[in-house]
């Protein structure tokens, strides 16, 4: 079996790849958790697990989806262990300042607030599609859904965002 991340050279290659992917991984974790500290912890734990198992990877292209899967599981695991308190969206946004809010234009903050308010089922596929560049087929695989279900969620996610942002409706109710 081809093992691109085995051996000393593989270790460095894997580290470089993680380095490149880390902003995406962090952002994905952030939008799962909607909390910087949790996102940071989840990414750290996920990378630790990934590092230990990197030898099992057969191809470089598989790394990103594999890491995202680990992050999802890590987040779920963390969520099972700890019951996070329910917070209001405005409180959540407010708590992110100044790091998150600083220098951001109001328009971006409005959209961010609307995304914060989306239910997990709608937010996650949207993040995978828009931020990660996944196809609907890949999202379906990642989330264990049918492609039809993914398309429905993506459509509704945008519907909800339009509504939140006061944009024109599209002719179909939620």
């Amino acid at each position: 079996m081809n093992a691109p991340f085995a051996g000393k050279h593989g270790e460095s290659a894997f580290a470089r790849l993680c380095d490149e992917l880390r902003p995406d991984l962090y952002r994905f974790a952030f939008w799962l958790a909607r909390d910087r500290q949790v996102a940071d912890d989840v990414v750290q734990e996920a990378l630790l697990r990934a590092w230990r198992s990197r030898g099992s990877l057969a191809e470089t292209a598989a790394v990103k989806p594999w890491l995202l899967t680990i992050i999802r599981r890590e987040h779920a695991r963390l969520f099972e262990r700890k019951r996070f308190k329910t917070v209001q969206v405005d409180e959540l946004i407010g708590s992110e300042s100044p790091e998150l809010a600083a220098e951001e234009v109001q328009e971006t903050m409005d959209v961010r607030r609307a995304i914060f308010a989306l239910e997990d089922d709608y937010r996650e596929p949207l993040v995978l599609q828009v931020l990660m560049g996944y196809t609907t087929d890949e999202i379906a695989t990642q989330l264990g859904l049918t492609q039809g279900a993914v398309l429905t969620r993506l459509f509704r996610a945008r519907q909800k965002l339009r509504k939140q942002l006061g944009l024109a409706a599209t002719g179909e109710e939620d």
Partner: protein, 228 residues
């Protein structure tokens, strides 16, 4: 394809229209406008999703950090509490809290050395080890353990030997700091590392390992194996 079908398709995946949807877009100005607005919305969504990544995450990604991640704050608190409660520190100076200290600089330096502090049975090239030792004006006795990495690194403006030694407690990093004096042994725990800086020769020797490694025996032995 009807307009409603087009809007469902474009509203779900505006970047990947099928043949039928593309044909419909070309003949229906209203739906073409809907698609344009959806793509603009997606640009706004993307901008919003790109939250700032903390600097630490953007720059300090190395196998060291990957392999031995930063200790969760609560875990660190528990660790610090158990150490404070159960260990007689004696003459050791425990350094804790935010600071711009020698210990912190050592940890920061670690975060910029990719792929080195890993368990391996592969020794560093002997000539490389010799070159690094020679530049640093030191020798490392073989009883310290096998050297799996040796590099001359710039640290606080000086060129210092940076070694990874495979010990029975696991791989540890050794930095030989000829120009950094410490009045007493300094222990620290940061970003997933534990370490000790020991007075040695004209300066000091820093020995670091991942959190969980018992450096109490190893640090002294490795530091003592440095011959100035």
């Amino acid at each position: 394809m009807e307009c409603l079908d087009f809007r469902r398709a474009a509203g779900a995946d505006p970047g990947h229209l099928g043949v039928e949807a593309t044909a419909h877009r070309d003949m229906c100005p209203t739906c073409a406008e809907f698609l344009r607005q959806t793509l603009v919305l997606d640009e706004r969504i993307l901008a919003a999703l790109r939250v700032p990544v903390p600097q630490r995450n953007a720059t300090a990604v190395t196998p060291n950090v990957v392999a031995f991640p930063r200790v969760e704050r609560r875990r660190w608190m528990a660790l610090a509490a158990s150490i404070a409660g159960g260990v007689v520190v004696g003459s050791l100076l425990w350094v804790s809290g935010p600071r711009a200290s020698l210990a912190q600089d050592v940890v920061r330096h670690m975060a910029h050395e990719p792929g080195v502090m890993v368990m391996t049975s592969a020794p560093e090239d002997a000539s490389q080890v010799e070159r690094v030792m020679e530049r640093g004006g030191i020798r490392l006795r073989s009883d310290a353990g096998m050297v799996s990495y040796a590099q001359t690194c710039r640290f606080r403006g000086e060129k210092v030997p940076h070694l990874v030694v495979q010990t029975d407690a696991g791989p540890v990093t050794v930095m030989v700091l000829r120009n950094e004096k410490v009045p007493a042994p300094v222990k620290f725990a940061e970003q997933g590392f534990v370490g000790t800086i020991l007075p040695a020769g004209p300066g000091s020797v820093a020995v670091l390992g991942p959190t969980g490694v018992d450096l109490s025996q190893v640090a002294g032995r490795v530091a003592a194996a440095v011959v100035w």
